[in-house]
């Protein structure tokens, strides 16, 4: 199969993610810690559902693979905006 980018913000390829799964990653945070998928500007808004589907079909357990936790700030903000707080 042709390789392709899955996480657009961090430029992480399908092959990187497949390798991380092979190495034992079984959750979205597990993938993220290995290859940085979901750590960029959109914080996984684009790639997380895709990675979760991949994990589910590869590991295929009863439960859906764990997702990452949304954290404050939920959008990219300027430090200036945070200081104004």
């Amino acid at each position: 199969m042709d390789d392709m980018i899955i996480c657009r913000c961090e430029g992480v390829y399908l092959s990187d993610i497949l390798k991380a799964i092979e190495e034992g990653a079984s959750s979205v945070p597990g993938i993220k810690k290995r290859v940085r998928a979901g750590m960029g500007y959109c914080q996984g808004r684009v790639c997380q559902p895709v990675i979760r589907d991949m994990l589910e079909s590869k590991t295929g357990g009863e439960k859906m693979p764990p997702q990452q936790r949304a954290q404050t700030p939920v959008r990219p903000v300027l430090l200036d905006d945070m200081i104004r707080r």
């Binding site: 895709v50 589907d53 949304a70 404050t72 700030p73 939920v74 959008r75 903000v77």
Partner: protein, 404 residues
């Protein structure tokens, strides 16, 4: 600034709730990061065959304008181009992009809607590849043609609806194909499953689908498909719908130049030849999922519920959550159409007013009935098992409530 109710999201759910709250004498602020109020309403323009005769055309922009006007005339504060990046305490809403750094409120209503699920296929990062939602917004809101010759991948209620909208706007749609049949993009997209879903859009193209197959035939479609998928190719508004071909690759040097389609068997296995179709634009559709980030940071428990479109905040049938002073409405609770979102907005407002000891013009029970009615009459059904999902959520809610 301090208001009784802070509402995140100026879509149909948030705006309708704001109107209802202000009409009953409380103060409300609506905050949205887009430049114009209306949320996903702004891109919607289609025929609704189930509506009363004089309301058959659903013009989302007009609906949005009317809601905004009503809200403003009732004194609702509307902040546009303002992003909410944190919610905390009870309640403090941190904002970026506007003059005010934050507002405080007694009640928080999250009406953040839903977002599109990506559909990765080799070549999907080439210029000229767009999502179905982008195509809808370009066409109906900005009146910009997305391309000269468009191939759509992903055959579902939303993409079919947008295809008809593109055609009506004079854009040349070369065809629609199935998404790639791979583990990368999830399941439920085989020819068989796709055809089963077609009955959910019968309302959108009644004269086309129903006339061709008969309402009756549509109901029995799954059986027909099982016996060999007789309808390999369907035409809707003159656009070929390739029920037995999946997109496998998008090609081009600097831009989209062509797509490769692969014939597949009824259960989605590659079968037979591939072909290349020259196009300059590809429009990808893979469904929607609720945007729950703020609910999670507000301490709301999340529940995985594929029937509702993904992970949703645990909530009651009256739009309350287990976090005191926190309410939800609209697509954040599950993927449905705009009229359902509006009804949920009214319901959330009724629950909020009740929680604050205010008399509302509509009771919570009446508002719940309106949500059910809107669901039954929805012209576009995004998820096949939405009712089941709602029932499941109510059961989890009741079980949790019994524990106290």
């Amino acid at each position: 600034m301090k208001v009784d109710v802070a509402i995140i999201g100026a879509g149909p759910a948030g705006l309708t709730a704001a109107v209802e709250i202000a009409r009953n004498g409380l103060s409300a602020a609506v905050i949205d990061e887009y430049y114009r109020p209306g949320g996903r309403l702004l891109g919607q323009y289609y025929e609704d065959p189930y509506a009363p005769a004089d309301q058959r055309t659903w013009d989302g922009k007009k609906e949005a304008d009317q809601l905004e006007e009503k809200a403003r005339s009732l004194g609702v504060h509307i902040f546009m181009n303002v992003t909410v990046w944190a919610v905390s305490g009870k309640w403090r809403v941190d904002m970026a992009g506007g003059d005010l750094p934050a507002i405080t409120s007694n009640v928080l209503l999250l009406a953040t809607g839903s977002v599109e699920k990506a559909l990765p296929v080799p070549g999907w990062t080439l210029p000229g590849v767009i999502s179905v939602g982008a195509a809808q917004t370009f066409t109906n809101l900005h009146h910009v043609a997305v391309g000269k010759k468009v191939m759509m991948a992903g055959i579902d209620p939303l993409s079919l609806s947008v295809m008809i909208e593109l055609k009506n706007a004079g854009v040349h749609v070369a065809g629609m194909a199935l998404p790639p049949m791979s583990s990368v993009t999830g399941k439920n997209k085989t020819p068989l499953q796709t055809v089963e879903r077609l009955q959910d859009v019968a309302g959108l193209a009644p004269n086309l689908l129903v006339r061709k197959l008969g309402k009756f035939a549509l109901k029995r479609f799954p059986k027909l498909t099982a016996s060999g998928l007789r309808f390999n190719l369907l035409k809707v508004n003159n656009v070929p719908i390739h029920l037995r071909k999946a997109i496998v690759k998008i090609e081009g040097e600097k831009n989209v130049e062509a797509v490769t389609l692969q014939s597949v068997s009824v259960d989605g296995k590659p079968a037979g030849k591939t072909e290349s179709v020259e196009v300059d634009t590809v429009c990808l559709s893979n469904g929607l999922y609720p945007l729950i980030d703020l609910a999670q940071t507000a301490g709301c428990r999340l529940v995985d519920m594929p029937e509702l479109g993904g992970t949703v905040p645990l909530h009651g049938p009256d739009m309350t959550t287990k976090v005191s002073g926190l309410f939800v409405a609209g697509n954040i609770t599950g993927i449905e159409g705009a009229k359902v979102a509006m009804a949920q907005g009214r319901l959330a407002a009724a629950s909020i007013l009740q929680s604050l000891g205010k008399q509302a013009a509509i009771t919570v029970d009446e508002a719940m009935t309106e949500v059910t009615n809107a669901r039954e009459k929805a012209p576009l059904r995004f998820l096949p098992d939405i009712e089941e999902g709602r029932i499941k959520m109510n059961k989890i809610w009741e079980a949790e409530s019994a524990h106290g």
